[in-house]
């Protein structure tokens, strides 16, 4: 069977499962819609959280980011940053927010900081972070479709929007939870199966995590030593020691991703769905187990795919691939624009080098490392079809989680909480469905019309969450003295300085030519690149919040009692909207 047909069958089959689940898990109440009825088992919630969390960026782009853009060791910022946040979440936020027992993140901020303005500011911060994030997912859906099913990017996006519309609008959090569990299974199989094959081929070890540290099959040379050797021969920095800019930058980058992870609302609300406080703690552990399966495989995929790619282009030292003899997959990916060659010296061979003057691999997109990996390793067609389904599962599951966070902020925080407090539950449920439909249409629109900033937005979302929502939540739980004025000033200050820093180096709204300082290390504060700046924004948030709290009236007694109340598990009851 040809690859095209096979891909349609595999993708079609997974989509049928998602729609089937949507019909089975319809939401009947606002509680179903916002927190899946509050009765999700912690292991199931861990699996759903893992799918919610691992986006197109984790699945399609991360291995390539590590292998190519960040040149090996430098890519560790993603591995540590996107996992270490769960430790913070499990200890500093999730159990207390679960104890508090409401539906949304802005609702907690509004109650703890006894102010509708604080709630409104939190809604704005939530929408800014989630929208920047969801655009990247919609793009991922469009790209995955267009590459694997050879339909237009636009058509792919419409199909993706329709599927998400179906299960998210019908089922709310309940539908999303069960689809995310199915999506996790699809995406983890799709990620690990090719990795196991490649690890076996290169090292004879079926576990990629061990394969990366093993010797190459039939030799006594370690894979990583060989990789270091071939990349340095081509003029690149040594793979295993290649620092991303500076130690300080790596530190800041990792920290920003960690606290950004802990502060992203679509992840936090997943912990409102478990029955108990102690489930919220263990569920974070399960989530990280399921995430770690992919995140410990990714560096192996990165190293092995890089080695495979180099050995395809340079089969023996100094002997480069003849252009006429390049394999079929090479030509296929050239058509998509992800690979491009240019025979600069006209010798009919493809020179690969770190030196741009002689390098003839003029384009190697990061995404190639995962997308073309099965073809480079000559794996059977069904594995390639599975990778397509996995990429779509990763993008759809994250998009649905983000859309729910956005729509519940609109229907529950803005409508029910502020504009029309007397709305009936049925009307609120309908409003949340309408808000979801609008959120999907809006995200689709932004996916179709990238306003220049679609590409760099995922990393920005972390910086924004790190500098606005995370500090507000942490101070809300760990301090009784932070006042509403302090919290509001902190959130506004933190998110503003982060946005300002990014725009100053990357252009206002990422529009080229509007940056007023060049995006080079010399212009950066302490050598910290814009994507790594969220932790500095968080520090600014904390400092402003405490400073303002010192000069404003202390929080009222009932708020201090609320803080006492959320610190102790007993009497959590079920999540409610009242």
């Amino acid at each position: 069977m040809d690859l095209q047909t096979l891909t349609y069958i595999v993708v079609g089959f997974t989509f049928a499962i998602y729609i089937g689940i949507a019909i089975w898990a319809r939401a009947g109440s606002t509680k179903d819609f916002y927190v899946a009825g509050g009765g999700i088992n912690p292991i199931q919630n861990g699996m759903a959280t893992a799918a919610d969390w691992m986006s197109a960026a984790s699945f399609i782009s991360m291995a390539g980011l590590i292998a190519l853009s960040y040149g090996g060791y430098g890519g560790s910022v993603f591995l540590m940053g996107w996992t270490g946040g769960y430790v913070i979440l499990a200890m500093l936020l999730a159990p207390y927010l679960r104890k508090y027992g409401k539906f949304t993140v802005p609702e907690f901020i509004g109650d703890r900081f006894y102010s509708k303005s604080a709630r409104a500011v939190a809604v704005i911060c939530l929408i800014i972070c989630s929208v920047t994030y969801v655009i990247g997912q919609m793009k991922g859906v469009g790209v995955a479709f267009s590459r694997f099913l050879e339909v237009d990017y636009d058509t792919g996006l419409y199909v993706g929007m329709t599927i998400v519309f179906f299960y998210a609008v019908l089922g709310g959090m309940k539908g999303i939870t069960y689809t995310q569990i199915a999506q996790y299974c699809v995406l983890i199989l799709a990620y690990t199966i090719p990795a196991i094959f490649i690890s076996l081929q290169l090292t004879g070890n079926p576990l990629p995590q061990l394969g990366l540290g093993s010797t190459l099959i039939g030799t006594d040379v370690y894979l990583l030593d060989k990789l270091d050797m071939v990349v340095t021969d081509l003029g690149f920095k040594e793979y295993t020691t290649n620092v991303r800019l500076s130690g300080i930058n790596m530190f800041a980058y990792t920290l920003s991703l960690m606290i950004g992870t802990a502060g992203l609302p679509h992840v936090i609300i997943r912990f409102f769905t478990v029955p108990k406080v102690k489930d919220a703690r263990s569920s974070a552990g399960w989530a990280l187990v399921f995430i770690a399966i992919l995140y410990t495989t990714a560096p192996a995929v990165a190293g092995m795919a890089r080695l495979n790619l180099i050995q395809t282009i340079e089969p023996s030292p100094g002997e480069y691939l003849k252009i006429d003899e390049r394999p079929q997959w090479f030509k296929n990916w050239e058509k998509t624009g992800l690979l491009a060659i240019e025979d600069k010296n006209g010798d009919g061979r493809i020179q690969y080098s770190a030196d741009p003057a002689v390098n003839e691999m003029v384009k190697i997109d990061n995404d190639i490392m995962v997308l073309a990996n099965p073809e480079i390793a000559k794996l059977p067609n069904w594995v390639i079809a599975l990778v397509a389904a996995g990429g779509l599962a990763a993008a759809l599951s994250t998009a649905a989680g983000l859309l729910l966070a956005i729509s519940s902020a609109i229907s529950h925080d803005l409508l029910k909480g502020m504009l029309t407090p007397n709305i009936s539950e049925k009307a609120e449920l309908n409003a949340s469905r309408v808000a979801m439909a609008f959120a999907i249409a809006g995200a689709g629109y932004l996916g179709l019309n990238p306003p220049g900033f679609a590409a760099g937005t995922v990393a920005l979302a972390f910086g924004l969450a790190a500098s606005s929502i995370f500090p507000a939540l942490m101070m809300g739980i760990f301090s009784k003295v932070v006042t509403k004025e302090g919290a509001i000033a902190g959130m506004v200050g933190g998110i503003s300085i982060t946005l300002f820093y990014v725009f100053q180096h990357k252009g206002i709204m990422f529009i080229p030519g509007t940056a007023f300082l060049g995006d080079t290390p010399a212009n950066w504060f302490m050598g910290i690149e814009p994507n790594a700046f969220g932790c500095v924004g968080a520090v600014v948030n904390f400092v402003i919040a405490y400073a303002v709290s010192r000069v404003t009236a202390a929080p009222p007694q009932e708020v201090q009692d609320l803080v006492e109340h959320i610190r102790v598990p007993v009497g959590a009851g079920e999540a409610t909207g009242h």
Binding site: G247, G285, V570
Partner: protein, 89 residues
């Protein structure tokens, strides 16, 4: 309302925070410490094909993170029982 008096509530919170601080120190050491600050030093040690600093940055820290969360969950469940503040089944 909480079944704890002020004194007990303070003690419960103090023990929670002290457990948390200990675990966050480990969290910091395995990632920022071993994976970034002491990276060059640890790379002098090689385990199989992995330089140790590189291993912590791309593998080891993640395994430790998983262990930390389950350890915290287990210890806190015990603390909840000790203070009689666990949730009824």
């Amino acid at each position: 309302m909480s079944p704890l008096n002020d004194e007990q509530a303070k003690e419960y919170w103090r023990r929670n925070v002290s457990l948390m601080v200990k675990l966050l120190v480990i969290w910091f050491v395995v990632s920022y410490g071993f994976g970034i600050i002491l990276f060059d030093v640890l790379n002098q040690i090689q385990i199989g094909g992995y330089k140790l600093g590189f291993w912590f940055a791309q593998q080891g820290s993640i395994y430790v993170f998983v262990g930390l969360i389950f350890y915290y969950a287990k210890k806190m469940a015990a603390l909840d029982r000790e203070f009689g503040v666990e949730e009824e089944e």
